[in-house]
Symmetry: C2
């Protein structure tokens, strides 16, 4: 091969590596979505076996986390990316870290589902939890979609959804407190409901983080720790 062919070959391989880590995140995202889906289903149907599957599969999420991270470090070391290539690699590293933690939260929900499956108590609160779960699942799906298409408008939409998730979480919390005060024997069980709600609310926060990374990749601006208004301004700039 002559020099230019070699160069072309080299750069094609580099592009393949970048594309591979980008899609590996989507695979990881799909797995995490499945974990959340299953944890919520375990909660809804009081099905502890589904909860156990989630707990057992968490190692797969962790393995992808380590693998993608390692591939990114190798790309940085060998390919010395700059500009948007570097932003992509940084976006991948950060998104992976948040997906891994969403996986942890899904595992927490699954553990609570296993404990709660033994009880008929507090079923009315479960309905509320389901509603919260649906919203969070939609956020996760939406932000993975935003990442797949590097779509900043979709990313902003997810950040907006988080406001509703926070309000819904506060709602569950208030009702849970009332429930506990009315029937103190239910406290240990209702605390598990509260932990599940909290885990779901945290998943919403992490989806927002991923939204911010998408905006960072597309716009080259770090919008973490800014308001939703400022985020929108950056996106429309």
């Amino acid at each position: 091969m002559d020099q230019s062919k070699l160069q072309q070959h080299y750069s094609q391989q580099y592009n393949t590596e970048l594309e591979e880590v980008r899609t590996a995140v989507l695979r990881m995202g799909g797995l995490v979505e499945q974990q959340l889906e299953r944890a919520l289903s375990a909660l809804q149907h009081g099905d502890s076996s589904q909860g156990e599957v989630v707990v057992a599969n968490d190692y797969q999420v962790n393995a992808l986390d380590v693998d993608i991270d390692d591939r990114c470090t190798t790309i940085i070391a060998r390919r010395q990316p700059t500009a948007s290539d570097l932003r992509l690699v940084m976006t991948v590293i950060k998104t992976t870290a948040d997906l891994e933690r969403i996986g942890d939260e899904a595992k927490r929900v699954a553990r609570m589902a296993i404990r709660l499956s033994a009880s008929d108590h507090g079923r009315s609160l479960f309905l509320q939890l389901e509603h919260l779960g649906d919203q969070v699942r939609e956020m996760l799906h939406g932000v993975l979609d935003a990442y797949a298409r590097m779509d900043v408008d979709q990313a902003i939409k997810v950040a907006h959804q988080d406001k509703r998730v926070d309000a819904e979480y506060e709602n569950v919390l208030r009702q849970a407190i009332t429930y506990m005060m009315e029937d103190p024997r239910s406290i240990p069980l209702i605390l598990d409901v509260i932990w599940s709600a909290r885990a779901l609310e945290r998943i919403g926060d992490r989806c927002c983080n991923i939204s911010e990374y998408v905006i960072y990749f597309v716009k080259g601006k770090d919008v973490r720790h800014t308001s939703l208004d400022q985020m929108e301004k950056e996106v429309n700039a």
Copy 2:
């Protein structure tokens, strides 16, 4: 300047940049320690004004997070680090992210301290919380020390401390549940105690994360998602 002098100058500047981000993390760590210290003091003395200082100062932690991250990306783009230089930069990026979240947890504790300062209820639980707070503060101090000296033995020590923190947290939780069942009117207040305990427990987890990054830097091995035994094996390898 001749070529070799230029080269030397260039490499000195590079070393300075690396050293600067390394120490910026320590500055950020010092600030986060102060935030935690103050939040715990606010809790202990029922001093809401100290709690408010913590909430007001959180933006400084966030600003350091964005600044250090930005400097790391610039180093990667301009200096194209490899081997241990690259590991250092990756360690800095990840440590910063966890410190930022420790700052968030300290802010949560401070918010609870502000709410709890209005009440005399549940003071006996506060003592337990103080004990947990002391342990977590020690962990944070220890892990910053491990980072400063890139000391893997100290990092392992911190990981061990986390086991005790988790046990202490479970302890607080059990007592809080008993307290709530005995006096249901105290539920909203005791929930704030529980949130504070949870935030402290999470800080312990994040200290463990930083321990893992220190081991990654020194040993070149990613020990996340492994057991404490495996971590020790890697360190002694």
